[in-house]
Amino acid sequence: MRRPAPVIFLTMLLLWALVVVLNHYLAVWHVHVFVGGLLVTYAGLQLPLRRGLPATAAVGLLCEAGTGLTPGTLLVLFAAAHAVIHHVRDRVPRDQLTTRVIVALLANLGLFLVLSFLLIGRGPAPGAMWPRLITDLVCSQVFVALAAPWYFALQEQALVLAGATPRRLL
């Protein structure tokens, strides 16, 4: 297996499906979990740009299908997050789990805030929406922190099983 992008995309699809089910149940309490930062982190930190970016772009399109967002919003945001992570990856110890988790948390925070500022103007009372958004953000960050170690291990194992370890790709 010499093409890691489809493998990484499949792991992203799995996480997306799990989060969709989680959000379905959390809707009863009006809580929503956003994991955009977790989706883009591994590809940004470990894969070459020409292999990681297509997977990130594809998952951006996947996440925004069925939402009311302007077409391309998440594609551009995820691609931007990928570019930033790829730019800083040589300056951080990216093989350490702690670093990866911190990068995922920061990426998630950034994406969540950008998306919130883009969409908050649509409501009748933007100020009144912030408490809900902050609750969602806290829940999302907790979920990302808890799920990130498992998810990064899953992505690494998926690449190993497919015969495309990150080390050999670089």
Binding site: H24, L49, A83, S116, R122, P124, A125
Partner: protein, 276 residues
């Protein structure tokens, strides 16, 4: 060192190219990509909903026979009440038809009721949407009103091969013409405030100055029938607060929506019999 500098800028250069390509891409291709990705993910979402149904089925199987007998008895009582209400409804419909003929009034548009299972709830602070398990295969049209036992659920915004997306009445992008029960004057309703662990809320504008409501004396808000999407008289929520707007010409207010909106499992799509 120019090569190193270029290497550092490469991610952003690539990002710029991606954005430029996306901007010049024809709308038809963007639409095609959106539909393709939705149809690609639909089997996963629908599959999980069937698994939930199976889980519910096996959950119900563990109930004891006395429990099922008691439930059947309660259901029989409810059915008896509904049978009576149905008879009264038929009589009233006949009376309405007779008066319409007498006064030569145009008959209101009819609807076909399409019941659909909810396969996915997506209630973020940014939007509130449902995905239902019926789409083009059941001739669900875009814009069709969606209701449940508690009143208005929302409007169908996207229709796919065997699923459709419903924008909830609590979503910030939903606006509809409403009216206070017993008052013909229309007001503008918009959803959008969805606090955690509390019922969703909406806002109303252009409320006449002689309308009053408070938490102690709430007023019922229903659809006005204007705009041609929702039939008149469907329950939207309870208005618990109205106060003069900044211009002083009208009032604005707050509407408490049905708390069950976030736990709906089944909805009814009102498919117009005579589409415009």
């Amino acid at each position: 060192m120019p090569p190193r500098r270029f290497d550092q800028a490469r991610p952003f250069l690539t990002l710029g190219i991606v954005i430029a390509v996306w901007l010049v891409l024809p709308v038809a291709i963007k639409g095609f990509l959106r539909v393709s990705f939705f149809e690609f993910q639909a089997p996963i979402t629908v599959g999980t909903s069937y698994l939930r149904d199976l889980q519910e089925y096996w959950g119900l199987r563990v109930h004891s026979k006395p429990e099922l007998i008691a439930a059947g008895r309660d259901l029989a009582r409810v059915n008896a009440s509904f049978a009576l209400a149905s008879q009264q409804n038929t009589e009233l419909l006949g009376e309405i038809r007779r008066l319409e003929e007498l006064l030569r009034l145009p008959a209101p548009a009819g609807y076909r009721y399409e019941h659909a299972r909810v396969v996915r709830r997506d209630f973020s602070g940014w939007w509130q949407r449902l995905m239902i398990r019926k789409g083009r295969n059941h001739a669900i049209p875009v814009g069709a009103p969606v209701v449940f036992t508690g009143g208005v659920v929302g409007r169908v915004t996207e229709v796919f091969a065997y699923t459709a997306v419903v924008e909830l009445v609590s979503s910030p992008t939903i606006r509809l013409a409403a009216a206070f029960e017993g008052d013909q004057r229309p007001v503008s309703f918009q959803g959008g405030i969805n606090p955690t662990l509390a019922p969703p809320r909406g806002a109303i504008e252009f409320v006449p100055l002689d309308i009053f409501a408070s938490p102690g004396a709430p007023r019922r808000l229903v659809t006005s029938g204007l705009g041609g999407v929702f039939p008149a008289g469907l329950h939207i929520g309870q208005v618990t607060k109205v106060e003069p707007s900044t211009d002083g010409l009208f009032k604005t207010g707050e509407v408490i929506l049905d708390a069950r909106l976030s736990e709906i499992t089944e909805v009814t799509v009102l498919v117009p019999l005579d589409p415009p």
